[in-house]
Symmetry: C2
Subunit: 182 residues, 2 copies
C-alpha cells in the first residue's frame, strides 16, 4: 500500500445551513504539496434501503430531487438520527417514505459517494419481510411508491429516470446477496 | 408524472474555490413551500471510464481520496475540459491516469451522484481496444494501476477498498453492456 499523504492542516473555508467545505493542506510521500477541498461529513451518516416485498418486487420511490430539479426514481434513503442504529434508522425511514416497516434488515456494504471530494458514507441495507406501517415524515409531499420486479433490474438501471449511481450499486449488491442468502 | 415544484428563487449562499452552494425556494404543487440547499453543477461535466484490456481485465486505479482521507480502489474519472467531447475527455484522462488510450469508447449511461442535493452528472463510458500512451496529468503522485478480471466483479464490489457507489454501478453497467455487445 502507498504511504498516505501527511495532512498538514484542515480549515473550514465555506459553510451553509447544510454544508461545510474544508480546505486540506497535504504533503504527499514524494514531497509534493497540494491544497484540496472537500465537503465534510456531518451528522451521523445515512442509510439507503433496498426494500423487497414477498413477491420479489423492489419498492422504489419517485421523489423531487432539488440537485437536478427533476423527479427521479430511486431507493428510499435518509439520515441516521442521533442515538439510532443504522437498522433503526432504516426501519423508520421505510415507514416514513414507503409506508412499510421491515422485520429483516441486512447490511450489504458501506458506500462512498464521491470520495475524492466528499466524506459522505451511506450504509446499503436489504429490507425484507415488510409489513404495513406508516409514520409521518418531513416530506413536503407524499412520495409515490413504484413496484419493480427484482428480476428486471437490468431494465431498471437503463431507465432514464433511475440515474443515481449509489442506487444502481445498491440494486446489484442486493441481487448478489439474495442469490447467496435467499 | 407528478407536477414539478415551482422554483421561486435560487440564490448562491456559500462559495469556495471549487464549490458553489445554492439555496432554492420551492413551492410544491400542493402549496407547501420549502427551502432546499444544493451543491451546484459547475464546469462541463465529468466522465468515468471502465477500461477493459484484451484479456478482459479491468484496469483500476488506487488513488488518495481527500474526502475520506484514505487510498481507494476505483475507476479512472475526470472533468471534461471546455470544447472537449465526453469521448475525447475519456481518452485523455485514460492516458493521464492509467497510461493507455482507447480506440473504442462506448457510452453506457449518465449517472447522478446524490441528485437530492447535488447537480453533478457523470458519463459512464466503456473503454476497449487499449494501446499504451502516457500523458502527463496533474496528479501529485503517479496512480497505481490494478488489474482485476471482469469475471470477478462480484468479489471486487465487496472489497473494502472499493466503495464508490458510482464505480460499482459502472462495473455492473459495463458487464451488462458487454454481454449484449461483445
Amino acid at each position: 500500500m502507498p504511504i498516505k499523504p501527511e495532512v498538514l492542516k484542515i480549515n473550514p473555508c465555506a459553510k451553509s445551513r447544510l454544508f461545510l467545505i474544508e480546505e486540506m493542506q497535504l504533503r504527499f510521500s514524494n514531497g509534493v504539496e497540494r491544497t484540496y477541498e472537500r465537503l465534510a461529513n456531518r451528522g451521523n451518516g445515512a442509510v439507503m434501503m433496498i426494500p423487497l416485498d414477498q413477491d420479489n418486487n423492489l419498492l422504489l420511490i419517485r421523489e423531487y430531487a432539488g440537485g437536478i430539479d427533476a423527479y427521479t426514481l430511486s431507493l428510499p434513503k435518509g439520515a441516521i438520527d442521533p442515538g439510532e442504529s443504522m437498522f433503526e434508522a432504516a426501519d423508520r425511514e421505510l415507514k416514513e417514505e414507503i409506508g412499510f416497516g421491515a422485520q429483516r434488515i441486512q447490511f450489504l456494504k458501506e458506500l462512498t459517494t464521491a470520495p475524492n471530494y466528499m466524506g459522505h458514507k451511506l450504509q446499503a441495507l436489504l429490507a425484507r419481510d415488510l409489513y404495513p406501517c406508516l409514520l409521518e415524515g418531513d416530506e413536503p409531499e407524499p412520495l409515490e411508491v413504484v413496484k419493480w420486479p427484482l428480476a428486471d433490474i437490468d431494465n431498471l438501471v437503463m431507465n432514464p429516470e433511475f440515474t443515481e449511481g449509489r442506487a444502481i450499486a445498491g440494486l446489484y449488491l442486493a441481487r448478489h446477496f439474495i442469490e447467496n442468502n435467499p
